[in-house]
Amino acid sequence: MNSIQQEILLELRNLSTVYPTKRGLVRAVDGVGFSVKRGQILGIVGESGCGKSTVLLSILRLIRRPGYIDQGQIIFRGQDLRGLSSNAMRNIRGREISMIFQDPLSTLNPAFQIGQQIHESLRLHQVIDGSRSLGPLKMGQRAREKERVLEVMTEVGIPSPVDRYTAYPHQFSGGMQQRALIAIALVCEPALLLADEPTTALDVTIQAQILDLMRRINQNRGTAIILVTHDLGLAAEFCDTIAVMYAGRIVEQGPVDDVVANPQHPYTQGLLACRPRISERGQRVQPIPGNVPDLAELPPGCPFAPRCSYQRGACDEGPIPLVSTSLGNISRCLLHVDYRRQKDWKWTDRVALEA
């Protein structure tokens, strides 16, 4: 790894995003922090409703009112995006950081041609230099822009792009729609791609193709990717590092091999255990018992405690810190809190558990 790849592109610090609702304040993202280096792929894994999409939308500052970012910093290339004017923020969106969404059909505008929609991103950011062309030469710029659109359509694997340029979204299959969305995201060559469950709506073979495409983009262009998924297995194959989220918080984080081979947090262990594996027939899939908690009424202690087989009284007493485990993962569980230095914890069974 050279030094460029070590450069930190995006760093979230203690990010919290909330949605006021009738039932109370929903803490969809609560003190999340991670960093993504150039060219790296980070996976965010968790069950439905744990706040994964909210993390991505917060990065682009696209949280819908009445929701808002409550605290934290979003440091991209050294500057906090939360401090930017809305104009400056628009220059980041689509140009520096792009996003692709879960449901391709509803994300493409039904009223415009695919080519137009890809072209729009390009034009919004004036990526193709038109400053030297005057008057009639603008035509030349237009033509170059179109050329670029066709080029990116080819790159994402849309066959016969010249014909498909004028097609409408409903005339595309789901896989082609997702390719078109990726083309929209990539046309300005962003440094960071946010992918919110990009393959969930697609069938398995198409899923593999789309992931393959994303990996190629990552390798050829050095585009960093944050991949959001509820599938730990998929993240394990695809990502460099993994952050596991539960109820708006990161519960475990680390290099992919450590997290998958040696999951430290009981929730990660549960996610791995309930993953169906074709190779090990006969072994039963074990779902995690219970349900995800209501984010408007979180308990003071560990939100996973009610579903956790290691649960002890101390789990419910107060917030659990994120601590480094012996393996280099970080985990938010009392199992890894050194009980001797934390006199307040009544964690008497620790020794028994380790045995």
Binding site: L60, S86, R93, S98, P110, I184
Partner: protein
């Protein structure tokens, strides 16, 4: 391809018009009151022989089936007969009056849309703001207020009290307008007659506002609710994620899709504009088809009522065809 489809739709209006012709014929015959009696009642004492002669001239002494046959046969050739009362070809009377009605309907439609578009869009973008609540209350009022009542209030305020606008008619004859199309505002613009522009606009203002208020209210409400929906959609989030400015997001991505249901409603409002004009034309003394047909109904002037209703029906069908064509341009998923 599209041209052929449009032609097909135009041809498909023939059976519709046929049905309309039969219906209006029967309804007129079902209404009590004999045309000749009414004519004579107005003219004073007339001999029984004279009445008999008129009945014969109008074929009213023939069986209904024969009368219907004669009417349909002539109508098919484009001959709508003679007005009993005015003794002139129905088609001439209609051609004389039609431009006034079209001008009023267009004026009302344009007024309605000019109000409804910004109100609908801004109310959706600023949902639950004071402006939103205020305009939706106004729209509710606009929908529930009868046109004749609104017309009279406007006359009282703007004509009688303030003397800003005329009460009656389409233009001051002193303006010396040269007719081209029969739409006076358009004609004054075409002939460059400034005085006539001002005069015709002043005359048009109150009737168009009265007739257009309901349209404005209905369209504003539909546009607002469609905008609320499209503004929440994923493609609007994508537009923002691309870096589009807020007005681009609203006016391009959200509005374009919100227009699809709105256009349908505007099409339905054309029927309301045509139906409502009878009242508005009567209140404002507007010399259009609406007043013509109202008088013709009172006189039991069968050919004139039949002819006018058929023109109404034809206009309505054509307006809807235009809306349907527009719809296919807005919504790529639909073909004619």
């Amino acid at each position: 391809m599209r041209a052929i489809k449009i032609l097909e739709r135009v041809i498909a209006t023939i059976p519709i018009m046929f049905g309309v012709a039969i219906m209006v014929f029967l309804f007129m015959r079902l209404t009590p009151g004999d045309p000749v009696d009414i004519m004579m009642g107005q003219g004073g004492a007339v001999s029984a022989g004279e009445m008999e002669r008129l009945r014969h001239e109008f074929h009213l002494d023939q069986p209904l089936s024969i009368q219907l046959w004669l009417f349909l046969k002539d109508a098919f050739r484009g001959d709508l007969g003679y007005s009993y009362v005015q003794k002139r070809p129905v088609i001439d009377l209609i051609v004389e009056r039609l431009p006034a009605t079209i001008e009023l309907a267009l004026g009302a439609l344009i007024f309605g849309l000019i109000i409804a578009m910004p109100v609908g869009i801004i109310s959706a973008v600023r949902q639950n703001s004071l402006l939103d609540r205020f305009s939706m209350a106004g729209a509710f009022l606009g929908i529930s207020m009868p046109a004749f009542w609104l017309g009279i209030i406007l006359i009282l305020v703007f004509s009688v009290r303030l003397h800003w606008l005329p009460v009656q008619g389409r233009i001051d004859h002193s303006a010396g307008l040269q007719e081209v199309t029969g739409l006076y505002v358009l004609d004054s613009l075409l002939t460059g007659n400034r005085e006539a522009v001002a005069s015709s606009l002043k005359h048009l203002a109150l009737p168009a506002v009265t007739l257009g208020a309901g349209v404005a209210a209905v369209v504003a409400r539909v546009l607002r609710s469609s905008m609320l929906e499209t503004l929440r959609s994923d493609y609007v989030t994508l537009a923002r994620a691309k870096g589009a400015s807020e007005w681009m997001v609203v006016l391009k991505h959200a509005l374009r899709n919100a227009l699809i249901p709105t256009v349908t409603v505007v099409g339905l409002q054309i029927g309301v504009l045509l139906g409502g004009n009878m009242i508005v034309e009567t209140v404002f003394g507007w010399p259009g088809l609406g007043r013509l047909v109202v008088t013709a109904i009172f006189n039991r002037d069968f050919p004139l009522v039949q002819g006018t209703v058929m023109v109404y029906a034809f206009t309505f069908v054509m307006a809807n065809l235009i809306v349907d064509v527009l719809y296919t341009y807005l919504n790529p998923k639909i073909t004619l």
